[in-house]
Amino acid sequence: MSDDEKKKHQTKKISSFGDIQVLMIEDDPYLREYYRRILEREGAQVETADDGDDGLAAIQRHTADIILLDVMLPGITGIEILQTVRAKKIEVPPIIMLTDLDQPGVEDKAREMGAYDYLVKHEVNAHDIKNVIEKAVGL
């Protein structure tokens, strides 16, 4: 992240998330709703996208402070989105991969591709999400 970005994030002193804009790219509607609920409970604003194309479009609107990216989306993998972002040199906030730990090495590959961290989506609870997001946003 550039110095400007870092400053922008530091001035956003968030106490319990409030004000954080989260972009969530996840295709299952139920999981989407569930994550939205636990994020909104903590005060975050949540924008969602349900496939790779919408996700990339949303990323390029640059409105999010943090991105939650599912590993498997219809027609494209989360890793491929990371590759696209990298290739097109799109500026992005910290990206957290939602993996199901099913394919070994996905987490390492994600980190290589520039993901900030990962969450195991089938063990996600409000506590873990909060910790990871706080760490990513620099609180």
């Binding site: 299952d28 199901d100 989506k121 089938h122």
Partner: protein, 483 residues
């Protein structure tokens, strides 16, 4: 009527083409088969072709030899005769001599002709009946013209069937180099032809024989072709399985996670519900739904593990790991569960340093969690002792409990899939029955061993043991460590 026939034919043709195109597609997909079929057709063809060409060539060579022989005989007789054309008997007997000496009766006939006006008369001949016969001039126009021996090939049809005959006509030159007569020698290629034919027949038989053998081979190996096709298909299916497991696990876990998540939210809201609007029964119902989902979630994970292990699709990342660290982490995770049951959970470590072992971190954690979890599950009062031990050769983890124990029969079948200890005391214990099977597989895949000992109503003891590896990669052995 005509149109009916037309459509019939067209349909038949269409079906034929479809069938053919199916074969073509099939062959395209099975290159091996295509090559095999080509070979089967080509090799005998080549063999046959080769034989034919060789034999034919040889035949032609012998033909040529024969012709040369006739020409030679002709020129000898011509030279001999040129001075004595008045001595009929001498020439006659010479002709007969030459013919009689020919091998296999090849030289059929030999004649000396002298001009008679514009035509030629038979002066001497091995076929005495032709003596004096007049032969038209145009028969011999070529010889006159070229003034050298001419050989012509005739095919005659006699009692013995078709016969090829070379007729060689050689001019007899007089003292002043003009043609004073002709020598006509006929040679039959019969014996060559007979031989050639017999060789061809033999090679044809050999060809047929080889085709029969090849066909037999194919027939007995038709199975092999089937297997080749099957193998191809299996490889495709095999590759699809990996993807299937990935997708299946994704699809199975998602609704379970979502359901569990929403129930979690409900439970939280109930917790925050201070007016106690939600009765105890509802809370209880929701708790049970949550427990069921947890079981389902565990079952899905276990089934996927089993499926992967059975198909050898499990990927293990072996590295040096501290057993002590894993045990500490698992124990701290399970402390609460044990406390809630009123069981004492303790860890005992040796006084010496425990060396690291080669294992996959995630899998080892899964194994340790399963064993300690089982100990807690099947113990209702007392304690669970987790003991780490090390010898020269290995690191051992011992989990002792004061639980319900199991019978000898249970011990025998303990590691079977879906096997669960079933007796009055164990009836409320939930589980998939897959945990220990998976644990045993994982331990063995990582190079370790697992043992169990148990006395009913007293308790059980599970031990897993992993070898220690020296820096050079070999297993440590007791003898080598003595100073």
């Amino acid at each position: 009527m005509v149109t009916k026939i037309k459509t019939c034919c067209l349909n038949g043709l269409k079906r034929l083409l479809e069938g053919l195109s199916k074969y073509v597609q099939f062959l395209q997909h099975n290159r091996q088969m295509l090559y095999a079929i080509i070979l089967i057709i080509l090799v005998p063809l080549i063999l046959a072709g080769n034989t034919f060409f060789v034999v034919d060539g040889m035949g032609k060579n012998m033909d040529y030899e024969l012709r040369l022989k006739a020409e030679l005989a002709g020129s000898i007789i011509a030279t001999y005769s040129s001075d004595i054309l008045d001595k009929q008997e001498s020439i006659q007997s010479k002709l007969e001599e030459v013919v009689n000496q020919s091998l296999y009766g090849t030289i059929r006939q030999a004649e000396v002709l002298v001009p008679e006006g514009d035509d030629y008369k038979v002066f001497a001949s091995t076929d005495t009946e032709r003596l004096g016969e007049i032969l038209p001039q145009w028969h011999y126009a070529f010889v006159d013209h070229e003034d050298q021996a001419i050989a012509t090939l005739f095919t005659t049809y006699g009692d013995a069937g078709e016969e090829r005959v070379w007729k060689v006509v050689t001019p007899i030159h007089g003292s002043d180099a003009d043609t004073v007569g002709l020598v006509e020698i006929s040679v039959s290629t019969r014996h060559i032809d007979v031989q050639t034919r017999s060789v061809l027949v033999k090679s044809f038989i050999v060809l047929l024989g080889s085709v029969v053998i090849v066909l037999l081979l194919i027939a007995t190996n038709a199975q092999l072709f089937e297997y080749a096709v099957l193998f191809h298909k299996l490889k495709e299916v095999d590759e699809m399985k990996d993807e299937f497991i990935s997708v299946a696990s994704h699809e199975l876990k998602t609704p379970v996670t979502a359901a569990r998540g929403f129930l979690d939210l409900v439970q939280q809201q109930i917790k925050e519900d201070t007016t106690n609007m939600v009765g105890d029964q509802v809370r209880g119902d929701i708790d049970k739904a949550v427990q069921c989902l947890d079981r389902l979630s565990e079952l899905v994970a276990d089934l996927l593990d089993v499926s992967r292990i059975e198909q050898n699709r499990l990927k293990v990342a072996m590295e040096l790991i501290s057993m002590t660290q894993i045990v500490d982490e698992v124990v701290s995770d399970m402390k609460l569960t044990a406390e809630n049951k009123g069981i004492f959970l303790m860890v005992e470590k040796p006084s010496v340093d425990v060396p690291e072992i080669m294992a996959d971190e995630g899998k080892l954690r899964q194994v340790v969690t399963n064993i300690i979890g089982n100990a807690i599950k099947y113990t209702f009062e007392g304690r669970v002792e987790v003991i780490i031990n090390t010898t020269w050769e290995s690191v051992m983890l011992n989990v002792k409990d004061t639980g319900i124990g199991m019978s000898a029969k249970d011990r025998e079948r303990l590691f079977e899939k879906f096997y669960r200890v079933k007796n009055r005391k164990a009836k409320d214990v939930v589980g998939t029955g897959l945990g220990l099977w998976i644990t045993k597989q994982l331990v063995e895949i990582m190079g370790g061993k697992i043992y169990v000992d148990s006395i009913e109503d007293v308790g059980s003891e599970f031990t897993i043991e992993f070898p220690i590896y020296r820096p050079d990669g070999k297993k440590a052995k007791r003898e080598e460590n003595h100073e």
